[in-house]
Amino acid sequence: MVSLIQRYKSFSHGVHPPESKATTSKLKIRQFPFAPVLVLPLAQHIGAPAKAVVREGQEVERGQVLAEADGFVSVPQHAPASGVVRKIGLVPGITGRMTPGIYLEPFPGSSQEVAEGEPCRLESASADDIVAAIQAAGIVGLGGAAFPTHVKLKPPEGKTIKTLIVNGVECEPYLTTDHRVMLEQTADIYMGIRYLLKATGARHAMIGVEANKLDAAETLRAAAPDDIDVVTEVVAVKYPQGAEKMLITALLGKEVPSGGLPADVGVATVNVATCAEIGRLLPHGRGIQERVVTITGPAVGRKGNYRIPIGTPLRFALEQVDISDDVSRVFLGGPMMGQALSSLDIPITKGTSGFVAFTTAETRDDKKEYPCIRCAYCLDACPIHLNPSLLGLLARNAEYDRMVEEYNLLDCFECGSCSYVCPSHIPLVQRFRTSKAVFRERQAS
């Protein structure tokens, strides 16, 4: 029996934006066709860009390494399709700015078999072998951060990792990729957890799932293997529950120290789609060639969750899903933290979890900015327990040093909850981003 009122674990504060997930959460992941040309920036991840190892005009096989990692905080780039390297030069990057990259033209009508590499055998591989294999597979945080995953798995000197947390919260409205991956790639997720437990030395794993995805939690629980210590925990539906710190607090009741890392509380966290990709690729020695992307929003005709080859131009993708002529804003990621795009000539990269497209009806900006009335909504929303109202005033007076030194500005991870609730429509988080940038610039000089 399930009690009528069930209190799920969570963190204190946060907000409840409309979920807007109903349409796509029930749609199975569908395979996308190859675009005529794939655009592959060499910097699809945080860290050093990959170094191209192919030449123009070279024919490549799907899964072949096109560019190799340049150092530890870097990952290689694999060919998303069999085809020919058209050009190596400047391509539009994830921000729309031109950046070094590769244009790849897939062979039409090719069977698109994936090249197999050296498999990473779970039984015989050491922790370092697995970390190296994860890097070799080109894996980055697929939740949107695009931080090379292998870097997070090695605990800093003197720290041990006890718990692996697999993040299946997906608290951003509209996005449903993690939800579908949990339902459709359950076995891959558990295989990924096996690799990750061994790589981190963690004794047990927890999968955190938001309570609006109970079907995913049930599917995961039903398929839980006996050979590893893993539990699926349901957490409350609340934004930003999927933020690393908030999930750790919800599951373990611990706080990651200010300026610290999850490893400081004995935790490594990995996004659930990233974990599934590790479980899918490592046994075959393959690299990432595609990823699941939610394309949704009022301006999208055929909303859905699509498995899309990396490098697919966004314009091609949006044409495939019947984008409305009335589209006025497209953003990369969810509506709370997603970045509005200035151009559709950007490629889908490893960090792209979704696109949401709004029509003019949703973006009509008739909101007047009022002075702060000290209603304290932002104080009750901030998951870090900052005083956004006061920080907003300080930002307006350009008192950046005070913001950082007295009011913990650098603990803000820009979730946007303060701006979301502000009845005066003050662009709080926007001011904090600028303040942080200015502060860091001043520090550097």
Binding site: D325, S342, C375, I384, D411, Y420, P423
Partner: protein
């Protein structure tokens, strides 16, 4: 094939908002006050209607004129001045000469709000600033109470209503004192049921505690009022006056009387909760409420005046930023930490 859009909007995240707005909050406060106003008209008749209308219109007019004077767009649309106007009217005794009401309204808006920089910057509740001015300038008029439930209340206005400015108004009917004055100067305690229902003399809005509480619950349910403030005020008044009453029942009135008499309920629910002039932190709100409650009891029982709610709130308004500074919440991941 759909054509590509011609322009894309650039906008930083978040791309959605709650839809809450300052004007929505303020408008709902006015809604919550309407039953209190209606009941005031029922109890005091036409004179309450005149008092409330004159108070509200004078505040609206003052706001409009101050905006024009400063060369800014009119801020009537944010509804905050409507809240001030109605609240100001509710603090006034019915039958107060209209010219005094208008003068006080201009003081409320000019000194209470615009001198500090307008909406969001007022250190004190503007309605109470207006009332405090009248209390100091016209102590007699401000303590002359119109009787409740008078037979002719819907057909006639007291002659003081349209008194000529700066002439001493004449009063045709002086009621018995308010419950608090009766307690203070005569030692009479009004029955609790009359107090709760609001069938007593007093300021326009000091009547029905029940309707004030209903309005407060409405605002709390809509997350437009911090419940900690009224609860802390009322709990403090109840505890302090209850303790004193237990020690010396003959010298001090009981806690129920203290809660429901005078302007405490209106002040605790609608005045002290002015978002701009009250603390933002939860603990700060509790301390602020406790301070107001303590001051109310001290002024009422040992001060020279029968009522102390207005001064209690104004004093607490003054220290509310400091209260927030004293009780800054612990930021996530800082301070005392359990080690891993």
């Amino acid at each position: 094939m759909p054509t590509a859009p011609k322009t894309l909007e650039i906008h930083t995240s978040p791309h959605i908002a709650t839809g809450a707005s300052v004007d929505t909050i303020m408008r709902n406060v006015v809604y919550a006050l309407l039953p209190v106003c209606a009941f005031a008209v029922y109890v005091f008749g036409l004179t309450a209607l005149v008092t409330l209308t004159a108070a509200t219109l004078s505040c609206l007019l003052a706001e409009h004129l101050f905006c024009r004077w400063r060369g800014e767009a009119s801020t009537l649309g944010d509804w905050s001045i409507a809240v001030t106007g109605v609240l100001y009217g509710l603090t006034l005794p019915p039958g107060l000469p209209v010219w005094m009401i208008v003068l006080g309204g201009f003081i409320a808006v000019g000194v209470g709000k615009f001198l500090f920089g307008g909406l969001g910057y007022n250190a004190f509740n503007p309605a109470l600033v207006g009332r405090a001015f009248l209390q100091a300038a016209f102590p007699v008029a401000m303590t002359t109470w119109y009787p409740s439930l008078g037979a002719a209340r819907f057909t006639a206005l007291p002659s003081s209503t349209f008194a000529f400015p700066f002439a001493t108004p004449t009063y045709d009917s002086i009621s018995g004192a308010t419950p608090l004055a009766a307690m203070k100067f005569d030692g009479d305690i009004t029955a609790a049921t009359d107090l709760v229902m609001g069938l007593t003399s007093g300021s326009t809005g000091e009547t029905s505690s029940l309707l004030i509480i209903v309005g407060g619950i409405y605002l709390v349910a809509r997350n437009m009022m911090n419940w900690r403030i009224p609860v802390a005020i009322l709990a403090t008044v109840f505890a302090l006056s209850g303790g004193l009453h237990l020690l010396a029942p003959e010298s001090y009135p009981g806690p129920v009387f203290m809660l429901f008499a005078g302007g405490l309920m209106l002040g605790a629910v609608f005045m002290a909760t002015d978002m701009v002039a009250s603390p933002m932190t939860s603990l700060g709100c509790v301390l602020y409420g406790a301070l107001i409650g303590t001051l109310v009891v001290v002024i009422r029982l040992w001060g020279g005046m029968p009522e102390g709610v207005m001064y209690a709130i104004l004093l607490a308004n003054a220290v509310s930023p400091h209260i927030d500074n004293l009780v800054r919440p612990r930021v996530y991941g800082t301070g005392e930490q359990e080690s891993s």
